[in-house]
Symmetry: D2
Subunit: 480 residues, 4 copies
Amino acid sequence: MPEFDLIVRGGTVVTASDQFLADIGIRAGRIAAIADRLEGGPEIDATGLFVMPGGVDSHCHIEQLQDGGGADEETFLTGSTAALAGGTTSVVTFSTQFKGGGVLAPLAEYRRRAAAGAMVDYAFHQIITDATEAVIRTELPELVASGVRSLKVFLTYDPLRLDDREYLEVLSAARRLGCLVTVHCENYDAIAWRSKALLADGRTAAKYHAWSRPEVVEREATHRAIALAELVDTPIEVFHVSGSQAAEEIARAQRRGVKVWGETCPQYLVLTAEDMDRPGFEGAKFMCSPAPRDAAGTAALWEAIRLRTLEVISSDHSGWCYDGARGKRAGGDDAPFTKIPNGVPGLAARLPLLWSEGVAGGHITPSDFVRLTATQPAWLFGLQAKGRIAPGADADLVLWDPAKKVTITNALMQQAIDYTPYEGKEVTGWPVATILRGQVVMKDGVVQAKPGSGRYIPVPAYDAIRPRGVLPDGFDAAAF
Amino acid sequence: MPEFDLIVRGGTVVTASDQFLADIGIRAGRIAAIADRLEGGPEIDATGLFVMPGGVDSHCHIEQLQDGGGADEETFLTGSTAALAGGTTSVVTFSTQFKGGGVLAPLAEYRRRAAAGAMVDYAFHQIITDATEAVIRTELPELVASGVRSLKVFLTYDPLRLDDREYLEVLSAARRLGCLVTVHCENYDAIAWRSKALLADGRTAAKYHAWSRPEVVEREATHRAIALAELVDTPIEVFHVSGSQAAEEIARAQRRGVKVWGETCPQYLVLTAEDMDRPGFEGAKFMCSPAPRDAAGTAALWEAIRLRTLEVISSDHSGWCYDGARGKRAGGDDAPFTKIPNGVPGLAARLPLLWSEGVAGGHITPSDFVRLTATQPAWLFGLQAKGRIAPGADADLVLWDPAKKVTITNALMQQAIDYTPYEGKEVTGWPVATILRGQVVMKDGVVQAKPGSGRYIPVPAYDAIRPRGVLPDGFDAAAF
Amino acid sequence: MPEFDLIVRGGTVVTASDQFLADIGIRAGRIAAIADRLEGGPEIDATGLFVMPGGVDSHCHIEQLQDGGGADEETFLTGSTAALAGGTTSVVTFSTQFKGGGVLAPLAEYRRRAAAGAMVDYAFHQIITDATEAVIRTELPELVASGVRSLKVFLTYDPLRLDDREYLEVLSAARRLGCLVTVHCENYDAIAWRSKALLADGRTAAKYHAWSRPEVVEREATHRAIALAELVDTPIEVFHVSGSQAAEEIARAQRRGVKVWGETCPQYLVLTAEDMDRPGFEGAKFMCSPAPRDAAGTAALWEAIRLRTLEVISSDHSGWCYDGARGKRAGGDDAPFTKIPNGVPGLAARLPLLWSEGVAGGHITPSDFVRLTATQPAWLFGLQAKGRIAPGADADLVLWDPAKKVTITNALMQQAIDYTPYEGKEVTGWPVATILRGQVVMKDGVVQAKPGSGRYIPVPAYDAIRPRGVLPDGFDAAAF
Amino acid sequence: MPEFDLIVRGGTVVTASDQFLADIGIRAGRIAAIADRLEGGPEIDATGLFVMPGGVDSHCHIEQLQDGGGADEETFLTGSTAALAGGTTSVVTFSTQFKGGGVLAPLAEYRRRAAAGAMVDYAFHQIITDATEAVIRTELPELVASGVRSLKVFLTYDPLRLDDREYLEVLSAARRLGCLVTVHCENYDAIAWRSKALLADGRTAAKYHAWSRPEVVEREATHRAIALAELVDTPIEVFHVSGSQAAEEIARAQRRGVKVWGETCPQYLVLTAEDMDRPGFEGAKFMCSPAPRDAAGTAALWEAIRLRTLEVISSDHSGWCYDGARGKRAGGDDAPFTKIPNGVPGLAARLPLLWSEGVAGGHITPSDFVRLTATQPAWLFGLQAKGRIAPGADADLVLWDPAKKVTITNALMQQAIDYTPYEGKEVTGWPVATILRGQVVMKDGVVQAKPGSGRYIPVPAYDAIRPRGVLPDGFDAAAF
């Protein structure tokens, strides 16, 4: 019996704090050895390549169930294909509660679907849309026991959004049970108010989506989300920070000692609001929330990444096609912006875009890239065997050609979604092979994995979710 | 006929930017001359005294109507007596809308009551508790035409509070019509959530009032109030800032160029949360919202005053007795803090407390005192003949003995409220005479004025309420 | 005998905190009365005009003695003419110590010259260039006794500049004796180092003056000047702040509670570094130190004025002609920037420029204008009868036509300097009469005053110069 | 031949971003393999221990030559012993230029001494005390060619200190040649001025050392050092930050994008100014510069470490004994503080103190510990084979017992210095073995290494020293 199931030969291994030439030996799906020279097993040649932890995409929507029945077109199977094509080996995706319903039933359904289709490993954020006593007191403990320790709340969107009281209930439950709370921060009433005025004024085109939610709307909700988390002493992550104002609120809170983390996504580093002003209905392809901003906002995000205000870069991959019955265009080319589904796809594009803009563009180092796309999201969401290259860690790796120039097409994305907002963009740096738990599941763009081969990752209690330990005014935590 | 109706002889006249020895000549209720020596008319001797503009108390609750009928025990008559006793000659008090009702009818009733009882001049803040289309579109224009240009909203308190959408409607109306919006900034849901938990935990005593609304709750609402005002481009004043956190949000906004002003009150400069922990039910006497904080908070407020982050000091005089059918104690000595009416009286105590702590205490100059208590509130609320000493201005003056030491008793307050939270406190500096439009209406503590002699001050369009002029993203103001 | 020597009839009187229609009655050189209507004496008609305190220019170089003998071409006589033409009635000018010499002798000479020529009232800053024991311990006490309470130090310029030790000696003496210290803040070594490199690189033109002292050079010295003043607990004013960086250091210090004030000058609000790049030798006309910056810097200065970080606007009038034996051009048109005298004239242009850019331009109100150009400089430098309109104050007034449009020419400046950097600039707002101690000394541009009619203003101890009261680590002040 | 020269068996390996159970295999002085299980060679048991990179002490004074002849009592031999006893395997120590002399000759002498005595690997900071043309233009290029890429300047201390011009010359040379500049930031003149006053006031005891240099003195020089480095666009490290004020200047600069790093030392985390007030002459044992501050300062430093403002923790080990001819006490027990040599020893105590206060104290994680004490100093000073655990890196390791409680005595420090300021302090966590390039050079406190076995580390060009790339105003770098 050979010593290793697979040897990754001769690459430049990159961790969140180092890079070095080494072979990696894999046994039983885990990294067994990192050494200057390993022998004894089949090999994959990584000469001239970077060998990095497989991407951990901690924010992506896959096969999301719709309240009226049906699910997103991006299934666990298609989404996994896109992920592996793009060098991502783990995702944290969503289980959605519907108003009036519980959380355990949908989670079971998501797990059933994922078990059947997923070809990447996966954990779940549980979206809370109805913070009922039953859910909070009865279902959440069971949910946590089953390994879900991330709750997601929306401060905007009908019918998803929670008011402040419900958000406080979720924060309080998270504190008691040991969960992280992730938050979509935009002010619901402000967007509704501005949207109504815009429509009344005849401003219905896609570009007015950005007008309906200027940065101050995001800043307001970000500050509120943090302030209430401070009140309850519960750690949170702010999703998809789009510009300087929300980032500044996060930085201020971090300086105060609040346990708050910030995430951004490639769309905010690459797109701007002007993309929504493309001719015809094209602008809808770039519509997401918060809205992309401008060049100054993008520069501010790179600064926030440099200063570690933002430590996670995810895709916020969204499951809306452009055409088709549920697509962005389903309401016709005259549909007002308020009727166009929000969100852009990005599972496969995330890593190439970030490498190209970030590493090749001189903003970050390869170790930063690993930290932002794998190590930190895995740490933050308790995926303890992921995002690292070390003996004992899962052998999830991406072999990366740093110099390869590729022009992005939707075909390369290998996703169910019928378009990419990055169509035609040339990037430098590309994943040439992806390894999941020791199996080569993508090579030269060909994804080869068995549906259902992805595994559920139950999350235990872990460091990031520990409250800072002080409630204002000496409250007993037990009282909450 | 003598040249002057009254000459204030030989005092040190103080304005917001100067002080000098002069006589003041009054004719027909207005200041006619300021000179080194005036002759020709009856005189009041001000030798050794400061002569300052009569106080303008831009935030006090007088004879407030209750939803179930009846009104606060502090009537326009008794409230005026207290005001004059304390050196205050003008007030901006409140007209309250009840849920489901309009604003014109209550305003008419308040004006009727004030016309009958008031012995100080007065203007109104209109409280909006129900931002209906009818009120916003039909009644408010008429209200403004009648001279009310200040709207008040509560972000907390049942049933007063507005949600963000309603607040935006008020901001938008204020922008269109030319009004200032004043805001009580505390997060409703956070207070409710914490209060519920405290009660469930058996923590019902008065001191837990402070625990139910720590500073972060005020900071959150302050930031939100400012952010939404930025969105609409409407000037606002934040009422009763209690500590460093809300003050810092205001300072940040001012640096960004937002038109936001901040107010604080003597209770936040003199009391602390510990006062609510006095034996028995006594703590209820010090209960107001936001809650008084601590010594560090008080120091931060003085700093914010020095840096002009806070430019108005009002009383937020509240009409709740301690005893009696509607008093703080009406629910019995076991009543939980959530059932005790909020607010403390301060009409008469405002100026002596501020002089004693501020001027005698070395934090501010006499000109600062005049600016904070008279000139700036008059400017901010458009009371153009008030708060100033200049030819043409109303002859509203207070003669002030800077060295007089007085131990505060409720009797000295001359108010209907049956207690003062400052009972027994010794202050340095005291008003020895008050002059309203040329009439000596208080002398040596004796108030002599005719009920109804106070006048309504209709407010025209004025500078402070002009929007900064830029809506985000180039919105046409007309659309809102 | 008429009651008044002069009545200023019917103008809009402006103080630092108010404006109102009134007559002003003058008797024996002082303001005797301010009233709605005065009779009894000769009149000057101010209908339609603003009546403001005569300008106080607290930073201008007049008839400055040169080390080798001789003096600036701008004499007390010509400088006074310019001042009165521009609405300025008081100046704080300089007495210069020469290396190796004392301070009393030059002060006596300056006083002699001023007594002969000055037609405005005047006080002195004593420049310290040699902080010898004799000067510090023996001469300064006598200087202060004679009424000089402002010391000026240069942190750059040969041979004027002090090193940190000498600056500390001056701060310490100022603290002991009760003086304000004013500081020219630029880093000497940095300028020398950059200048040498520029010259070595063949970059000698006037525009390289700005390259030799970028903003960081000013920021460094500003922070240092403040830090050492904090150490000694001595109040200071930072002269001629040119942009955002130095202003931010001052603002930070003010927030820390340090007694530091900031001044800027019209040249920093109106000119930019690009003016030094005009064809031929013209650029030299705009050369001053610190160098003018750019449009963003100008905007930052207006913000700093709005936030009261900067509270004084002076001219820094400098006595160098363009042509002539001592002029900017004396070294020939090939002279490198290091050989061209620094400084621009501005005694007469200061008020019109500030009104036009500031008041007409919408940045400040007329009361702000009065505060910045008269009240605050008078307060800061202890000129207690100046800069105010109140009974007892000196009757120094300017009658201002706010709507008059004038194209600036050097002839209008009525100065000895042979050019103005503002030649051809159209301004809105112009002084139509100037009154000094009750005498109309300028009317419609015609200056009529007797040489030597200006008076020396001895400065007593006053509030601004009181130390904050705390030395670091509890030092006894006596030890220093 | 066995596969490995040494196997570190069964420890918890800690890197700057990870920790995991693994064996480490060493071959030819380098790490050859990191694996779940290695066989084939001699073993050292690390079960239950942390295995971390050997400490990199990037700031320590060893065998420093005195201008009058002789050297510090802490020689390369004794210093190495202390370092190894404390888990440190590499040092960056100093070569000193004497006024009037060059830098190559002393460097040669230091290298000769180190080659003879050192038992740890070493690099050098070259202290520049005389920035002559010859040194700057002729010697420094040769110095850099020989592998020294760190220059050290003092902004205080006679005769070491540089004035701003000399500092600029050094910055400019560093930029040209590719060096990092490290800076001792305190204001020379301020300290001299205060010291003189203190002595004149009879305040001579050791505790007045702190009075002679309050925090503002350090803040001033820190801001200046950064500002001038900004001007020249040269990366710098600020040595031994002692409190919040200097840390804040560094943080501000980092936010501006300036390449500036900050270091602190255990003495600032553990000692306070009060230690200098111990009875008799004892206080001298705690005297270092900057002076230790207070509890608030210590808390601020931990915050600055958390926020990554400070990223290096060194010892600033100083070679002064307490007793003896050159000791602190050499001037007698009545010597004024100005005559007592500054500095405290800490080579051996650095890691135990930081682990105990930092990791056991809950401020930092083991990975933070590794980053602060090894990875980051090695990265910052270009010691590319040091501070890391990865194949190819030097096999420099410390085996750490995290739970061992030890009471510090000077005997345990194994240094030539005759005292430790931490005598009697109990710490949690202790190095139980030290490995240098694969050799076990300390075990259970016994140091076994050959004098001279340490190696010189020549430093090539590396990332940290690259200028940010922009000189102010577009200067050609070539011109400087």
